[in-house]
């Protein structure tokens, strides 16, 4: 080898060594506390922010992010009594005209991040725009102002919202309303408002914000950085910035938490909880959660096959053979509780008189025997032949169970426990992996689902899935209405009596009267066994002991979720 080649090789080697040294030594430094705050709070999550446009988002993490950067009239607080509505931008409110008019007083002297005044006119414009395009570009935000007809701003600190009729959960609805800067968004409302939906403010930084933070950096599948906004009118963030980092899988996220590269993760995977508990320097928070798992029964009264599964007594008997304690210990490592209501136990107006569903397979088998489902060869029960409309021949009680691949828990293991339980009742089930949410839902509804023509929900019998509920019960109550066929309904249930009650509770202002209706609706869902509620997951998050003041219960409900944490 010539001298020239040797020199080149030596130079290349030195350069490589320099790079390797830099790589191994690392460059990661937590940002300095430039503003005298606690530095950067590094939060890990397996849910990403898909958009900061309130008219075009799907992910729940987007809703959480928008809470941080936009003003809301009201938000949720959490205390000993549970969740309750508190003012965010609004300081007070009152109703008049029998509940059809709501007047909100707003803080004065508030500004957007670009220095423009933030006034009631922005709130009124946002509401009126949503109402105007509710069946088009603003449909996603429309439920936050359901039944609203018009909003006005008689003064810079007063916004008045008029409703077509008294609405029972105005404040809960408005908690999901994000006020936008009119001077930025108004031009997008021209020409049918199409651009309202296609505009992505997170891609045009710096975006104009009016919350506790501004957005310094946005990466959909990376890190989004929220910087403390010095103009914020509420309790200032202790952290100078919050860096929310997305992970595709919990293993990497927990590895980074344990390695000190994260300060906080918003949901610890159930199989990792005990490992995290044993790690020095990490603190686990264990709170009631909002997610419930269930067996979903196709309850379409027009389903052509396996109509024995429309009988609540059959569904109840099969459910009594499912060992929910085993699900809690095996699937959720003990971090779940049994639940009876579709709303979840954290919601408002939970009916305490439902069930409880006993795990008593002996009694279940007696029920099935009495109903005439005799065991055939191989121990599988036979559904007898029926006559009349929707007649079906005798057939074994063997069904497919659709399971999606998109759950955040081990649905395969949960299915195995259900399968064992059903087998004890003489019913055979086979897992049918449905694919992602879209594919699984399409299997439930069918490809030509049409609510107006009552077409759909004829191709499946049983599914296993989960729901993430809300504090106000309105949404969860809606998912079994006919109006949500082909949208949120997975049971295909069709009950005019129930739908009437649903409409009624939405317009009942008196809390006690509304509660009575909501209790009755939960009883109807339970008595008809639209779902077998299995368990309610606990909300388990973990953080470094170097941080304190973390209010995990406010995840998705309040700006304080990010503003409260501070370094010890």
């Amino acid at each position: 080898m010539s001298v020239g080649r040797k020199g080149l090789a030596a130079s290349a080697l030195v350069a490589a060594l320099l790079v390797v040294t830099g790589v191994v030594a690392g460059t990661a430094r937590t940002g300095s506390a430039a503003g005298g705050g606690s530095g950067i709070l590094r939060l890990g999550t397996t849910n990403y922010i898909d958009s900061l446009n309130p008219f075009n988002y799907i992910e729940s993490q987007s809703s959480n992010a928008m809470i941080m950067v936009y003003p809301q009239l009201v938000a949720y607080g959490y205390g000993a009594e549970g969740y309750h509505i508190v003012g965010d931008w609004a300081t007070s409110w009152k109703t008049s005209d029998g509940g059809k008019v709501w007047t909100f007083k707003l803080r004065s002297g508030t500004k957007w991040s670009d220095g423009q005044p933030m006034t009631a006119d922005d709130a009124a414009w946002t509401i009126n725009t949503i109402v105007k395009f509710a069946n088009g570009p603003t449909a996603v935000a429309a439920p936050s102002v359901a039944h609203a007809t018009h909003a006005s701003a008689p003064s810079p600190t007063t916004v008045v919202i008029r409703y077509a009729r008294p609405v029972g959960n105005v404040l809960a609805q408005l908690e999901q309303l994000f006020i936008l800067p009119r001077h930025v968004w108004e031009k997008l409302a021209a020409n049918g408002g199409k651009e309202l939906k296609t505009y992505h403010p997170e891609l045009h930084l710096p975006m104009v914000t009016g919350g506790a933070y501004t957005v310094k950096q946005y990466e959909k599948k990376g890190t989004t950085a929220f910087i403390r906004d010095p103009n914020y009118w509420g309790s200032a963030s202790h952290a100078d910035a919050v860096a929310l980092t997305y992970y595709t899988n919990g293993d990497s996220m927990i590895a980074d938490l344990k390695g000190g590269k994260l300060d906080w993760v918003d949901q610890v995977p159930f199989e990792a909880i005990n490992v995290v508990k044993r790690t020095k320097g990490l603190v686990i928070d264990n709170l009631p959660g909002f997610e419930t798992t269930n067996i979903t029964w196709n309850s379409n009264p027009r389903k052509p096959k396996n109509r024995e599964l429309l009988d609540p007594r059959v569904k109840k008997a099969l459910s009594m053979c499912v060992n929910r304690d085993q699900i809690i210990s095996v699937v959720f490592s003990g971090y779940a509780t049994k639940v009876e209501t579709l709303l979840g136990d954290v919601a408002l107006y939970v009916n305490p008189h439902l069930g409880p569903l006993r795990n008593d397979c002996a009694a279940a088998n007696k029920m099935l025997d009495k109903l005439g489902y005799r065991r055939g060869s191989g121990g599988i029960r036979m559904a007898p032949a029926t006559q009349g409309k929707n007649a079906q021949p005798a057939h074994p009680m063997a069904y497919d169970v659709i399971t999606p691949t998109s759950t955040d828990f081990n649905v395969n293991r949960e299915f195995q426990i259900v399968k064992e339980g059903f087998a004890k009742a003489g019913v055979k089930v086979t897992q049918k992996v449905g694919g992602d949410s879209t594919a699984s839902y399409a299997l439930e509804t069918g490809s030509k689902c049409d609510a107006a023509k009552s077409v759909g929900y004829t191709g499946y019998d049983i599914a296993m899935w989960d729901w993430v509920g809300y504090i106000d019960p309105d949404f969860m109550l809606s998912v079994v209405t006919k109006g949500q066929w082909c949208s949120w309904s997975d049971t295909g249930w069709d009950s005019p009596a129930y739908d009437k009650l649903y409409a009624q509770q939405g317009l009942t202002v008196d809390p006690d009267k509304r509660k009575a209706i909501v209790w009755k609706m939960q009883q109807m869902i339970y008595d008809n066994f639209l779902y077998t509620q299995l368990v309610e997951e606990r909300l388990i998050d973990a953080h470094s002991s170097k941080w304190t003041g973390i209010q995990s219960a406010l995840n998705g409900y309040s700006k304080q979720y990010y503003t409260s944490p501070r370094k010890t």
Binding site: V19, G22, V23, V24, T27, A28, T30, G31, S32, A34, G39, I40, R42, A134, N135, G136, A139, V140, A142, P143, T198, H200, K216, Q217, E219, K220, K221, G222, T223, A225, D240, A241, A243, T245, Y246, Y247, T248, N249, D251, S252, A255, D256, K258, G259, K261, G435, D436, S437, T438, A439, Y441, A442, S447, D450, A451, F475, S478, G483, S487, W488
Partner: protein, 324 residues
């Protein structure tokens, strides 16, 4: 067959393959259950709203109409717009491609260098401990599922070496202060190490085994015996005479595998939360974003065909026997 004939035939075949692939891509994704509108679930998603959305996105047209429109757009170099963001497909895919390419390149270079060295030493020292080590390590890594190897890296290697397990940059970089170019460069490299190493180890096994096999065959040739008889050093025999001829199948293998890995090792990007083309495809599948899927798979198809063509042309150039 003249050189021109050979090249022309290969290019024509490549074009036909591209057209067939475009059609298959179009059909394949529309066979998935659901579409971009059914992927939306919202309380206001009434039949009227969904009809409005389908019209906006062109999904109300017949499949044939959508297909002809797609071909027409392609002919003008337009890959369409994302159904989700309405941004151009090329814009949406550009960042993921920029993230994937250097990571793939680093891993592939590592695999080629290590695989070649190990394969040569294994063949040269056949039957010895070095050969056994090379053979078994090659087989082990070749058999390992990439995502499992990636998880082992996350769980056992990342912490030990202080390397990050996810993303392409440190979450705190540039938030409160502006980093230097060197800091940014090193940070990017640190985030590439583990995924590139995982890819490199997965490919290394295949390359090592192929090189070993090709070298064994070559070292058994008469001209190699002649070279030894002439008194050439082992180094000269192995590297100058043996490896040069043994590299022919390796070049083909590398070119062919490059075409596939351009698509981004989806499983590895998933394990390391690496925002490359693989993760972009996964997200597009979730959202039934047909234009993104069609664009990404067209890219994959073109890269496979291109590298296949390059492999053919390289082989043609390196081995004169091909023309006879």
């Amino acid at each position: 067959m003249t050189r021109l004939d050979f090249v022309a035939k290969r290019i024509a075949f490549a074009l036909v393959t591209v057209f067939v692939a475009i059609t298959l891509n179009f059909v394949l994704f529309r066979s998935l259950s659901g579409d971009a509108v059914s992927a939306l679930r919202c309380r206001q998603c009434t039949a009227q709203f969904k009809a409005y959305e389908r019209k906006q996105l062109g999904l109300d047209k017949s499949k044939w109409e959508q297909y002809w429109l797609y071909l027409g757009d392609l002919a003008h170099g337009n890959l369409g717009s994302s159904l989700r963001t309405e941004k151009r497909v090329t814009t949406e895919l550009w960042d993921p491609i920029k993230n994937t390419l250097p990571m793939i390149a680093l891993g592939t270079v590592f695999a080629i260098v290590l695989g070649t060295m190990v394969g040569v030493v294994s063949a040269w020292r056949r039957g010895t401990a070095a050969d056994k080590a090379g053979l078994w390590s090659g087989l082990c890594f070749y058999a390992m599922p990439p995502q499992w190897l990636g998880l082992l890296m996350v769980l056992f290697v990342a912490g030990a070496l202080g390397l990050p397990t996810s993303g392409i940059k440190d979450p705190t970089l540039g938030i409160l202060s502006e980093p230097s170019t060197w800091t940014v460069f090193v940070d990017r490299l640190r985030h590439m190490v583990l995924p590139a190493l995982t890819i490199g180890l997965v490919l290394y096994g295949e390359y090592a085994l192929i090189v070993r096999s090709a070298m064994l065959e070559t070292l058994g040739e008469d001209y190699v015996l002649t070279a030894r008889a002439k008194g050439l050093s082992s180094w000269a025999v192995v590297w100058r005479h043996g490896l040069r001829n043994a590299m022919l199948p390796v070049i083909t293998l590398v070119a062919l595998s490059l075409g596939f890995i351009i698509g981004g090792f989806i499983t590895i990007e998933y394990v390391f939360s690496y925002p490359g083309i693989g993760l972009a495809v996964v997200e597009a599948i979730d959202q039934r974003d047909y234009p993104i899927l069609q664009g990404a798979f067209l890219l994959l198809t073109l890269s496979v065909i291109l590298f296949n063509l390059i492999a053919d042309l390289l082989y043609f150039k390196l081995d004169p026997r091909v023309t006879s």
